[in-house]
């Protein structure tokens, strides 16, 4: 299944990349862009499920923190989102300290951020901003958009993460649950990672925040 979705997503991405919006004014282009968005969602969700529950009820992910230059994290997230954002005419702004290093599980954090960007595609009008910086000894990673903000149900889900609510019943629950699990796995001295959702971010829309110790 994973292979099939990979091939589907990759092929769509190649097609979109070759066909520029300005040369393609027909209805196929936005439809293909929408297909890519949906494929990405599917692929993310599947990846999250595999990471969380390979065998029923048993997380089987080999957690591997390593030192990563924040710059390279941004490169990889921006690279994954590029074609989708271009196809939808959305601008990605990134803001981060050029030489900062941090220790975390790179694949998991890329997964969370890519999914947050993908999610912001749904809410934003035309801009998404990825900001990473050090704050009170933690690494703060935020994905903000200039849309209407998250609906109340999602904000509520965001505040209840980790309080025993079954997020799988909520449409956005799996992504949030995955993100909170990833945050929770990260620990340093007495600190543990966390996530939160806010409205009225720097661009006026919603804001997803991941804090890593």
């Amino acid at each position: 299944m994973k292979n099939s979705i990979s091939v589907l997503g990759g092929t769509l991405e190649n097609l979109l990349d070759q066909a520029r919006p300005e040369t393609h004014s027909g209805p196929e282009y936005p439809q293909m862009a929408q297909m890519l968005y949906q494929t990405r969602r599917l692929s993310d969700n599947l990846m999250q499920l595999l990471a969380l529950y390979k065998e029923v009820g048993k997380p089987t992910y080999p957690f591997e923190p390593n030192t990563v230059p924040v710059r390279e994290l941004v490169q990889q997230v921006a690279g994954q989102a590029r074609v989708l954002l271009e196809s939808k005419g959305i601008v990605l702004e990134v803001q981060y300290p050029a030489d900062l290093l941090w220790t975390f599980d790179e694949d998991l954090v890329i997964g969370v951020l890519a999914h947050a960007v993908n999610n912001a595609v749904r809410y934003t009008r035309d801009r998404i901003r990825l900001t990473i910086g050090e704050r009170d000894g933690m690494l703060e990673l935020t994905v903000a958009d200039n849309g209407m903000g998250f609906p109340p149900s999602m904000l509520e889900a965001g505040t209840q993460v980790g309080q025993g609510v079954n997020f799988l019943t909520n449409s956005s629950g799996l992504g949030l649950f995955f993100a909170s699990e990833v945050a929770r796995m990260h620990r340093r001295r007495q600190l543990t990672g966390a996530i939160r959702l806010e409205n009225a971010g720097p661009l006026g829309g919603g804001r997803f925040v991941l804090m890593l110790p």
Binding site: N3, L50, P62, L101
Partner: protein, 574 residues
């Protein structure tokens, strides 16, 4: 804080470092044609022109034999036959990869068995699908950079110059913060290999102050275990597993600590769990089989040895032990015919005198345990004949096993001779000497045994003392010559080997480099390493030896680098 602010058009892309990735040769290994096409597309987009593809492990091996690839992108799950890890192992062991080449292991998901399966022969990086160009290029550049940072360290490691390699780790940390954790992990490993567990412990403890790294915690447990504090070690491994139920190495270590505590049933249970989590390690299945055999769980032993034989089929780690273990299982089930067939297969697949000896021992054990004492006696006689023909003796544990069997089947002279050999070569190891005495006691040869042991010990210490006396009285050349004879007489005596190497090095320190002496000293030290790795004196002597190589000795830059390394070293090492 310097902040970069970029918009979509100028979003940072992975720069190519200093590497010309377009000129490299690539191999894609995946059993799924759609994925191969996607990967090829990604590689083309980063400029690659020379790309080969394989759809199975076998096909990959054929291509790897023909071409030196700079980059291999290999899927972990390859359907029938070898998996990605086994392809990598075979490519490494058969030297099909040059040190600069990069192996990226690709998998659909990051699972325990795809990442934790192999302790040795790790790929340079793991990548999860879908692979995008940004991720690919970033990881390629990072691996390349890391290889540069580790190049000298790896070279020193291969030369077994562990102390110099450990100092190089410190020097590199100062310049490459991004690899600090990997370098410190390597340094701890090197210090353990150099027989410096206290210094290794200091490194692990400092890392654990920052973050709870499984491998650092497990490393501390290993040090405890080596110090004989098995219970404390057991608790540490148990703690790692409680935190991360999928850290396989901790299971293997936990099983070892339980075995040392005499809790064989528990050890077996832990190995069984580990084998379920990560079933593709030949070594783990072998341990499970041996432990199960020991506690008499024949079905479990059979299952483990069968699995061991099955995975060994495709693995370079194929081991003769699985044949012997399976033969014992068959013996227990009274299937003597199958046991003998397995012993024949072992000797066919692993030629050599040692395997012949071990096969004969196992044959004797199988007959003995099944109650056929007449045939067991016959195997014993044949073993005795084999020993008479072959002058070289196997390692201590095997000698003891042979002697035990030979006594059990009623042979007298050959086992006594074997045990004397063991004592002569371990004359200063009281625990082992006691064990040998116990074997004589069991064979109702207490008195004779005691006399033989005393004689063997006297002989060894006399040889040693004469050499040391010559050395201390300034007759170095004579001492070197005397130790040569001692080595012939006592080929596996650690003290004699170390002193002999030390004298050869001294000889060169006083009279200049001599290639013949260098080769001789190196040979002696490598033999020591084979007998018992991780000796402090080994690391020190290798370092002294390396310093004698012309050109290796101290250029001004090297002196500077060493001084810098020392300044950057942890306070505990001052």
């Amino acid at each position: 804080m310097s902040t970069t602010y970029v918009t979509a058009a100028g979003a940072p892309t992975s720069e190519s470092a200093d590497v010309e990735w377009s000129e490299k040769r690539y191999l894609i290994v995946d059993d799924f044609v759609g994925i191969r096409q996607l990967l090829r597309e990604s590689l083309r987009n980063i400029g690659a022109r020379h790309i080969d593809q394989a759809s199975s492990g076998g096909e990959a091996m054929t291509l790897l034999l023909r071409t030196h690839y700079d980059v291999v992108l290999c899927d972990f799950n390859l359907g029938e036959g070898k998996n990605g890890q086994q392809v990598l192992e075979e490519a490494r062991v058969r030297n099909l990869m040059i040190p600069s080449s990069v192996w990226l292991m690709v998998s659909a998901e990051k699972s325990v068995e795809s990442v934790m399966g192999a302790a040795e022969h790790q790929p340079d990086a793991y990548i999860i699908k879908p692979i995008t160009e940004g991720v690919l290029l970033t990881r390629l550049n990072r691996v390349w950079h890391k290889k540069q940072v580790f190049r000298e360290i790896d070279a020193a490691y291969i030369e077994k110059d562990y102390l110099r390699a450990a100092r190089l780790c410190d020097a590199q940390v100062a310049q490459h913060k991004v690899h600090e954790i990997d370098l410190m992990r390597m340094k701890a490993t090197l210090l353990l290999k150099a027989g410096e567990p206290d210094k290794a412990r200091a490194v692990y403890e400092r890392l654990l102050e920052e973050r709870e790294f499984n491998w650092a915690r497990t490393g501390l447990g290993r040090i405890r275990m080596a110090n004989g504090d098995h219970e404390a070690a057991r608790q540490m491994f148990q703690g790692v597993i409680a935190e991360n139920r999928f850290y396989i190495d901790a299971y293997d270590q936990l099983a070892t600590s339980l075995t040392l505590l005499g809790r064989h049933d528990d050890a077996c249970g832990v190995l069984e769990k580990a084998a379920k989590l990560s079933p593709n390690a030949v070594q783990r299945q072998r341990s499970l089989g041996n432990t199960a055999l020991r506690i008499g769980n024949i079905p479990l032993a059979e299952h483990a040895f069968r699995k061991c034989l099955a995975i060994g089929e495709y693995s370079i780690n194929k081991t003769v032990d699985a044949f012997f273990g399976m033969a014992r299982v068959c013996g227990q089930k009274n299937d003597i015919k199958e046991a003998l067939r397995l012993l024949a297969a072992a000797q066919r697949d692993f030629p050599g005198e040692l395997v012949k000896l071990r096969a004969k021992i196992t044959e004797g054990l199988v007959y003995h345990e099944s109650g056929d004492f007449r045939r067991a006696r016959k195997s014993g006689d044949e073993l005795e004949a084999l020993l008479g023909k072959e002058k070289k003796r196997p390692q201590t544990a095997l000698c003891i096993e042979m002697a035990t069997l030979l006594f059990a089947v009623g042979v007298k002279d050959a086992p006594a001779e074997l045990l004397c050999h063991v004592v002569r070569n371990n004359h200063d190891n009281p625990v082992l000497v006691e064990e040998v005495q116990a074997i004589f006691d069991k064979a109702r040869l207490s008195e004779e045994g005691m006399a033989m042991i005393a004689e063997a010990r006297r002989e060894a210490s006399e040889m040693m003392n004469k050499g040391v006396l010559l050395w201390k009285t300034g007759k170095l050349a004579e001492a070197v010559e005397w130790m040569r004879e001692a080595r012939v007489r006592l080929p596996d005596n650690m003290r004699i080997l170390f002193n002999s190497a030390q004298m050869l090095i001294n000889q060169m320190q006083l009279h200049g480099y001599d290639e013949a002496l260098m080769i001789e000293a190196n040979g002696v030290l490598m033999h020591v390493d084979e007998l018992a790795a991780g000796q402090q004196r080994f690391a020190q002597l290798v370092e002294q030896l390396q310093m004698l190589i012309p050109g290796r000795a101290q250029t001004p830059e090297a002196v500077d680098a060493e001084l810098e390394a020392l300044r950057g070293a942890a306070p505990a090492e001052a």
